[in-house]
Symmetry: C2
Subunit: 253 residues, 2 copies
């Protein structure tokens, strides 16, 4: 049995708690948070504590708390022999260096509170301070995901930025699409199949191959028509992304 | 039996040909293109012609040819009594006004040559020069799609721009993600589950609700870390989209 303590009660903490709890060979023996209120939803399921000095002895301690305080929390865990892990894309492994055994367990996915997620398909990026610890982290990660990859801190930070473009920024483009629909009294739901198809194409084509549209075709007339329709707040972004597509594909506007 | 003539041999023409050919009550009796070579793949399946003066009598003529020449092609069809349709998102219905019966049949999807598409789920935006023609177009559209909506030319042009943000521009963000991966020797495929999840969330949440990330949280530290990692060619777009997210959500950077 692998014993796990989770520090934090946010989205990543909650989803990890759920994924681990469903596995027979893993026991989440404790959840810590400084705020008692946020522990409520866990208190029927496992031991909880607001006192970081009273953590149980475990094989793994997950720091699933916001980036700013990871180093500070880690320092308070230096007496434990278990592996101290953080789950952040943006924080280097060296922030855990005051502990004896440490590593990274970064699930590359966007977690929302109320969505159910199948962890099996989520890539988990792992890193460790020793080959031995890397093996242990890998064994744990493979219990919940079939896609576990060794990724160093520099690569992981790059992935984190790439994820911002792919997830946060794409979502914002959907939001602009919704704004344009609202401005013209069109139901946004009509665009949902296109959103699905756009994402689905990338499973088989590279994004470079999958590119279509007036920017790629260098279709000035359509671009001008679009700029004329767009409200001022969207014109600039339309121009910038059009230019960026043309730069990538070697076109000149 | 509804008889259809298709003008054009590109992506939209090919996908419409396939969708209509599969229906028992629809007969694609002819495909026209000015270029003989491009008719080859249709010549075993139906009658083909390069002479626009020799089109057969049909219930519907689909002009699935590039936007610039729609009006010119339509003018050459003014002797036909069948309904003249174009399939473009960006061209107004008035470009068909020299014909007797006309309308729009705009499938809101991105078509690639070599992908199979289930038309059932593709929204079709229709418009016509009369209530009677609208009904006929609707009947035809409903044979291949379960989502047929009346959309006027102004709304359709707005949808076309929204589709550029949602499809072309999102795909370009995937391409930037792939570039960042290449620069740091990470396999882009690790981001594919995140791409799927980002699109999939929008089926149940509004894009406004689904927004996450450092721009929304106004997390300066992460934003600065990201800008430091990004190559110069991506910094500007990162800043612009971050700003646009903050404008939409009423944050100040």
């Amino acid at each position: 049995m692998l014993e796990v303590v989770i520090l934090g009660t946010g989205n990543v903490a909650s989803h990890l708690f759920k994924a681990f709890s469903e596995k027979e060979n893993i026991d989440v023996i404790q959840v810590y948070n400084h705020n008692k209120e946020s522990l409520k939803s866990f208190s029927n399921l496992t031991n909880t504590t607001t006192n970081i000095q009273q953590l149980k002895k475990a094989d793994f301690y997950f720091i699933a708390i916001k980036d700013d305080v990871i180093a500070e929390i880690a320092q308070q865990l230096n007496k434990y022999k278990g592996i101290i892990l953080h789950t952040s894309g943006a924080v280097g492994i060296n922030r855990l260096k005051h502990t004896a055994n440490y590593g990274i367990f970064y699930p590359l996915q966007s977690f929302s509170r109320n969505t159910t997620i199948d962890f099996t398909e989520i890539p988990i990026c792992i890193e460790a301070n020793s080959a031995e610890n890397l093996e242990k982290i890998k064994t744990l990660a493979l219990t919940i995901s079939k896609d576990v990859r060794e990724v160093n801190s520099e690569q992981r930070k790059a992935l984190h930025v790439a994820a911002v473009f792919i997830n946060n920024f794409s979502n914002h483009l959907y939001a602009i699409g919704a704004e344009i629909c609202n401005e013209h009294a069109v139901d946004f739901s009509i665009l949902k199949p296109l959103i699905s198809e756009t994402a689905s194409k990338i499973q088989t084509l590279s994004p470079y191959e999958a590119q279509t549209g007036p920017a790629l075709r260098n279709d000035h007339k359509t671009i001008e028509t679009h700029l004329a329709i767009l409200s001022n707040k969207h014109k600039n972004l339309y121009r910038e992304i059009t230019q960026s597509i043309q730069d990538l594909h070697g076109k000149e506007l």
